[in-house]
Amino acid sequence: MNAVDLSAVLGETRVEEVLDQLERELVGLAPVKRRIREIAAYLVVSRARRSLGLESAPPSLHMSFTGNPGTGKTTVALRMADVLHRLGYLRKGHLVAVTRDDLVGQYIGHTAPKTREVLKRAMGGVLFIDEAYYLYRPENERDYGQEAIEILLQAMENQRDDLVVVFAGYRERMETFFRSNPGMSSRIAHHIDFPDYAPAELMAIARLMLESENYRFDEEAERAFDEYIALRMKAPHFANARSMRNALERARLRQAQRLFEAGGAVSCETLMTIAAEDIRASRVFQ
């Protein structure tokens, strides 16, 4: 056999399903989705090459996800684990999300077993290290973070078949982190940057979130929420989709309070609708 049907490989791994799901459920993030499609295509092709006996080194799959908070890094990592599992690059396809505290110990000799335990749990899946730059603390030369980094590097190099490591965090701080750990940077093949959402995208995200919880805006509320987004984006500690989730959470709280105070019979319609006053009561408008 000297031909292989790429669409057959795609069909049998059912990876299209995940990619379509990604397209449907994640608003915006066009460059991220494009990169994931590229990676998926690359992996399908290398699978096809392998089935024809064309030897090449197994692809390196470690990644870094950079972007502001709430731009969907964890969600995309989850989907990525699924894609890699379906393509046969991960045996189990689960995601283990950790931060510095899970990797770095508090006294001498504590770090290595701790890091190794996390690595063992992540085997067969994706190890997602959130705010990875905290691992490296140059201001303290006796910091144990360096030890964790070295163990991670070793595992990333020697156990490529067993796990995929994803580093995530703010763009600028990740860049500094990679600059001060050149060994790390060179072992990460895919750097994916998550852009901030545009106001229209945030609105679409909010609508998706409400829909999944069986709520909706009335017309007035939709206008109010548009204004809310514009104001919130300028306020400090803006965290993209996460801010939207929190805002909706509080709006639901206020809606419940309003209905409760009004008393009497409520229709299904009323229970589902979030009104403008629920949103305008937010402190962002003050």
Partner: protein, 131 residues
């Protein structure tokens, strides 16, 4: 003298792939694996040393197998066994335990029969000097 004990005592030693398959099975059942080693394989010695802590919440055999390999490298002259613990109420004990490494120069045991009063026989297993 080939020492045997544990779940697969009647089989030849398992290869790494077979060990991996056993670990996969244990993890699939929700059991937690641990690695133990000893230089005293006397059948009555139930206190083997732990190699690291038991491993909880693992999804894949690679982690356990890596630990087995590390233990073999650290103690090439010891016996190493792999245990799988079932925490389910009512079991709360090992469900699987087998030797995954033995030293090249194995321990040798002898048996002494002691005649006691009447026709009673008492048995003692003792370790013979290694050649």
């Amino acid at each position: 003298m080939r020492i045997t004990q544990g779940t697969f005592s009647f089989l030849p030693d398992l290869s790494d792939d077979e060990i991996r398959a056993q670990i996969e099975y244990a993890l699939g059942q929700g059991w937690s694996c641990s690695v133990e080693h000893t230089d005293d394989p006397h059948p009555r010695n139930v206190y083997w040393e732990m190699f690291g802590l038991p491993m909880f919440d693992l999804k894949d055999a690679a982690g356990v197998l890596g630990e087995v390999r590390r233990c073999r490298e650290t103690f090439p002259g010891h016996y190493v066994k792999l245990n799988a613990f079932d925490a389910t109420h009512g079991f709360e004990s090992l469900r699987l335990s087998f030797i995954v490494h033995r030293p090249r120069d194995e321990a040798r045991f002898g048996l002494v029969r002691e005649e006691a009063s009447g026709r009673t026989l008492r048995y003692t297993t003792y370790e013979r000097r290694r050649s």
